[in-house]
């Protein structure tokens, strides 16, 4: 359930939210429309070629820039199962957790990873495997509080429980 496996799309450092989804498409919140333009300024082929389950691999400060939640929504709308990066910008980090897009901080997995490698990520165990390179790495664990949000399917599920909105 918590194990993801997919082919990688590798991007560099400081991938900003304008690269993930340019502002010219922010007049909608439809995941499908957003997904059709995801990453297109950084890698024009991405929206056409990305396959369900693929994994995005970023360098440091992935998702820097604006607070647009359209960025993680575009990524998950494109069918990407998970984003691994050396580090994440804080609002993107928050947004991904809040909408239930799995993200993992794992610098070792990022260095040496190339386009088209196959990664296997066990979120619960915090283990990332590069099946192409036959290597295994330890990921940074989430604090308990964030795990609770993830388990609730995102912040809305979590707040529903708190406010009694869900009976």
């Amino acid at each position: 359930m918590n194990v993801f496996q997919g082919k990688t799309w590798v991007f560099g450092d400081d991938i900003d939210t304008d690269a993930i989804i340019p502002a010219r498409y922010l007049t909608t919140q439809d995941p499908k429309i957003l997904a059709a333009h995801c990453m297109e300024d950084a890698e024009p082929d991405f929206p056409k070629k990305v396959q369900p389950g693929d994994i995005i691999v970023g360098g440091k400060n992935f998702g820097c820039g604006s607070s647009r939640e359209h960025a993680p929504i575009a990524i998950s709308g494109a069918g990407v199962s998970l984003v691994i990066a050396e580090s994440f910008a804080r609002i993107f980090f928050r947004n991904a957790i809040n909408i239930g897009l799995p993200i993992v901080e794992c610098p070792q997995a990022v260095s040496g990873c190339e386009n088209g490698h196959t990664l296997q990520v066990d979120l619960a165990a915090g283990v990332v495997k590069n099946l192409t390179l036959n290597e295994s790495y330890e990921a940074v664990a989430f604090p308990d509080f964030m795990q609770e949000i993830i388990q609730a399917g995102g912040l809305i599920g979590f707040v529903k429980r708190q406010t009694g909105g869900e009976k």
């Binding site: 400081d14 900003d16 304008d18 690269a19 340019p22 502002a23 010219r24 922010l26 007049t27 909608t28 919140q29 300024d41 950084a42 440091k60 400060n61 820097c64 820039g65 604006s66 607070s67 647009r68 939640e69 359209h70 929504i73 580090s87 910008a89 804080r90 609002i91 928050r94 947004n95 809040n98 909408i99 604090p143 509080f145 995102g154 912040l155 809305i156 979590f158 707040v159 529903k160 708190q162 406010t163 909105g165 869900e166």
Partner: protein, 424 residues
């Protein structure tokens, strides 16, 4: 051990005597903000929570500023979602076109974000209000939705980097130059997850407008918030405007800082950040010859009255270079009116500039000045990412209003000193 101003404000809002960096807390918020891009998504999520009312209709601000006056049918539909939500929930601080402004210029101007407040906004530049000694940070739409329902938000208490600015500023150097220089020094993730506390004698002399500019760009260094210790300048700014109570917090002398960075400002020239990252800052002397097609003076970074005054002081009696489009966008209606009364708008129009109603517009590549392939702009905005102002092969150079205005006159990125000398 003492606490920083950020820790103190968060402790107060979490109902705690003391807390430390790294702790996860739940804090009450004094204001929750959203705009025409982020609020519609937040409203959709709010509806999923299943509560009937917002936690407090007076503590939510909804500002249609990004694609307004609406640029197309889709953006009109988005704005309508927000407008109807505001009516349905009697949101006190909803601002219609004609009464609105760029959110981060507007909220402080109206005195609805104040010193000591905790503010979250579904907009990354919410950190602007730290200039008043508030804890203010950007979040996403889902966070906004949750806060509209509960009046609370979760935070990891950030560590703080203390910046101490010493010495005297050179002519034409202001808040934008200091913050670009600082981001150049530490990089776009130099303060990731952290608080940037701006202090020192050079800061004490800065106007409130210049402080907004600096706090505004804390996010461009990856920070959670940027903050100033409130003083007489702050008091002067908020006294007339405050629509509620406020409190001045100060950092304890024995507060813990992750790092202290001392900066001698006396050698800092007007700064220009080259494409495609705000950290690519250079002194104006090291820019070389960079011709520009467009100049934008505006945004939540530099669309305030002081910025327009600086720009007008350079453009007075001059004309915009033949190959350049100068677009001036006052941050709010009040700033627009003040500029009109001061005769600044006349100076801009006589110089050959287009002056627009308040909007984010070109800052995020929305409308009102989108760049074509291969075009280059110098802008007083805050981001120069690939495609930020239009075509992915266009370029944005960031500067303060003085360099921007001077560049509009010559057609290439220019030191204000050179233009003013020429004219004298």
């Amino acid at each position: 051990m003492g606490m920083t101003i950020t820790e103190k404000i968060l402790a107060k809002h979490a109902g705690r005597q003391k807390l430390e960096a790294g702790e996860l807390i739940n804090a009450k918020v004094d204001m929750v903000l959203g705009n025409d891009v982020t609020a519609p998504l937040a409203i959709q999520e709010f509806e999923r929570i299943g509560v009937k009312t917002v936690f407090d209709p007076a503590k939510i601000a909804l500002v249609p500023d990004h694609f307004t006056p609406n640029k197309d049918i889709q953006s009109a539909e988005q704005a309508k979602i927000m407008r109807e939500f505001a009516r349905r929930h009697d949101i006190v601080h909803y601002f219609e076109v004609g009464r609105m402004g760029i959110e981060h210029c507007l909220l402080p101007e109206l005195g609805i974000v104040l010193p000591g407040h905790v503010v979250i906004g579904a907009d990354s530049h919410t950190c602007t209000y730290g200039a008043l000694g508030a804890f203010a940070t950007g979040v996403g739409s889902t966070d906004m939705a949750a806060a509209m329902a509960t009046g609370e938000a979760w935070f990891r208490v950030p560590e703080t980097i203390l910046f101490v600015y010493r010495g005297e500023l050179k002519p034409w150097v202001s808040g934008k130059d200091l913050i670009l220089y600082t981001i150049g020094l530490i990089g776009v993730d130099g303060a990731r997850y952290m608080s940037m506390e701006f202090t020192g004698e050079a800061i004490e002399g800065l106007s409130q407008d210049a402080r907004f500019t600096m706090a505004n760009m804390a996010i461009e260094a990856g920070a959670k918030n940027g903050i100033f210790i409130p003083d007489a300048v702050t008091e002067n700014y908020v006294r007339q405007r405050a629509k509620g109570n406020y409190e001045f917090y100060v950092s304890d002398p024995d507060a813990h800082y992750k790092k202290v960075i001392e900066i001698d400002v006396s050698g800092i020239e007007p700064q220009v950040a080259f494409p495609h990252l705000p950290e690519n800052a250079r002194g104006i002397g090291d820019v070389g010859e960079v011709a520009v097609d467009q100049v934008v003076i505006g945004s939540c970074t530099n669309g305030r009255i002081e910025d327009l005054e600086i720009a007008a002081s350079i453009l007075q009696g001059k004309t915009v270079a033949a190959n350049v489009r100068l677009i001036v966008i006052p941050g709010t209606q009040a700033i627009y009116l003040e500029a009109l009364n001061q005769g600044l708008i006349e100076i801009f129009i006589n110089a050959g500039a287009a002056v627009s109603t308040p909007t984010c517009g070109p800052c995020l590549g929305g409308h009102m000045g989108i760049l074509a392939k291969g075009e280059r702009a110098v802008a007083t905005t805050n981001r120069n990412f690939v495609g930020r102002m239009g075509h992915p092969e266009s370029e944005v150079y960031l500067s303060g209003p003085a360099v921007a205005a001077a560049s509009a006159v010559t057609g290439y990125i220019t030191s204000p000193q050179d233009v003013v000398k020429e004219g004298a």
